[in-house]
Symmetry: none
Subunit: 210 residues, 4 copies
């Protein structure tokens, strides 16, 4: 669980190389299939060092989860403007920030996805808690300070929240699927913003009061 602190004495470039190699290997293959051999090869370090730093494959995985959580928190959540009271505008804002984060940390987001999906189980309680906290915070990013009065009054607002969120996630997933395998850095997402706004307008028209 506790990694060797010497890891943090490495120059940042090397730390990044190692973490990225590991994040990518796990993201692409899942926990079981990920090969520590591949990781050290891609990181350009000797076989023994991975285990010197991280003890074993599992601890490396756990450390990456911790690391990923930190990045999500500091590089994604904390950049979102929480003063916007319009739910759909808030979602727009989140989408903008998320895109920047995806560009900056593509491996992290893929890795996080694998963690939630694979549910390699047996995560230590503390990490399990941090993960669920992340989800809770993510949720509050969505709903805190939102003005419910914008919604038409003949529908249940909580249900409307969820339906809107699900539909937008659906849209984004569909987009991601189109681009899967393409390194995110090379994707020109710009033309899709218009389409995205159109969808948001439909949602506003339908769920908001006139």
């Amino acid at each position: 669980m506790a990694i060797n602190p010497t890891f943090h004495n490495l120059d940042d470039a090397k730390q990044k190389r190692i973490l990225n190699a590991a994040l990518q290997e796990f993201a692409e293959n899942g926990y079981e299939r990920a090969s520590t051999n591949q990781i050290v090869k891609n990181a350009g370090i000797g076989k023994g060092m991975l285990f010197y730093y991280f003890n074993n494959k599992k601890d490396l995985y756990l450390y990456l989860i911790d690391h990923a959580i930190n990045i999500v928190t500091t590089e994604f959540f904390s950049l979102i403007d929480m003063t916007e009271p319009d739910f759909i505008e808030r979602l727009k804002e989140i989408a903008r920030v998320k895109l920047a984060y995806l560009h900056e940390y593509p491996n992290v987001s893929n890795f996080i996805a694998i963690v939630f999906l694979n549910d390699e189980a047996n995560l230590p309680e503390e990490l399990e808690k941090r993960l669920s906290d992340v989800q809770k915070v993510g949720t509050s990013m969505l709903y805190d300070n939102i003005d419910p009065k914008l919604f038409r009054d003949d529908v249940n607002v909580d249900k409307a929240f969820k339906l809107i969120r699900w539909s937008i996630e659906g849209y984004q997933n569909e987009l991601m699927k189109q681009f899967k395998d393409q390194p995110i850095a090379l994707i020109d997402i710009e033309p899709y913003w218009d389409e995205f706004y159109e969808y948001l307008d439909v949602l506003k028209t339908s769920f908001y009061t006139k």
Copy 2:
């Protein structure tokens, strides 16, 4: 890719035993962790036969995808009543049929889920095409013969279609996540229908004309 045709000369029970053993092993463990040893043991056949029929693990996996597609087509899609013109009612109908299919072929649906998640990436083009065809057919199940006039006229109907679909899929996924690991046969889904209907009502209120 091409399996040994002698496989189909086996009596149906044996074919089923083998396919089920394999579907389950892959569904429970993912591609990499799945053990051919377990499969032959559960199928009650000799080690060699698996490779005689399917050449190798990958080809077996591909064949199972093909097989699963067939089942989805014949045992799911073809049972849907395509005469219902109300989009949201159609979705309700589909949910009903889907639930029955999940009970009847739990291995198949779990397996399909694994396939989409793992995203084995290097599926042969032909299979990739069949998979996307399935999705297209699935889509047409949704949209064919739908009466667009039910929708309010100040939103784009195609966009509304999609938004509604995504939100419903989001709801269903959330439900599945709750029940993950539980054998589907043991889940009492009944109480959730009411909630589901409530969501559908919100959608009707918002997207349909009065």
Copy 3:
């Protein structure tokens, strides 16, 4: 613990090659240092078979102990003439039989020695018991049906037994040390019998009544 029964279906020569390779590797290096790689190389089998037959290194070791016990029992103990009432003659007889056994199963006796010395601990209770039984039987081989009246009556016979036994073991160990590393098959032990008998005569003169 339980080995794969297919091992016993191998032709005897192959079984022997494998067991001998393993006995020798453990005898020469002890448990920890013994290399399964060396064993399969010397046995001329594929890497995986050792584990197919014996599951893992520890189980192989345990099986060899069991195997060695059987040989000691059937090829050494059971060949000793237990009717000889003269203690020192009995020891002579035992030495003869032991020599034949050492020639026939050189690896076994070296291996047994390592087992007792290394005390790799954690042997399963059942094996620990069998080992101590072997020692008990070995002891009874020495003392059963011995006529104590041959001993002078001013010394405690039980102490005399032990002193004689220890001195003879001391002699034999000294001899073994001289020949260590030499393959036992090549040693011409014959000239040493006379010396051995002289020692026995000294013991008789000293401990027996005139």
Copy 4:
């Protein structure tokens, strides 16, 4: 083989710490299992220094043998009263001194035991010679200035010497086996002296002239 002479420039306490850490590690685990990591940790020195002083694990081991031989010579052999002409009394005297040495240098004696057992086989000739010299000196400790006239005249005195020695060693080994694993400091050996004397009396009765 040759160690770095700078080792002897270290203050004595440090040298002792290092040697003791190494002796103990080898004594407790045998050559192969012994971990140089443990040694440097227990010795409180950096990893590199061990190899700076001793080149490699094997050379360290050899040096320890040499070191142990020195201790045996100066702290055991030289303390034995060589004026006692009665062979069995001499053995008694040796046993007393040996016990004190075992208490004083438990690591050394355990280490020596491991060396003889493991029989690392490929010790360099020179060390092999020193070891056999030690044994020879040990032997002369036994036999020098002994009065053969105490022995009955119908047995060969040299053979009697050896038989007696072996039997006593046999007794002592048996005792050691009982106490194996117990830290020697905690063993209350006192009650065993009486038994030991009884054995010696039997030997006197049998081998000495009346």
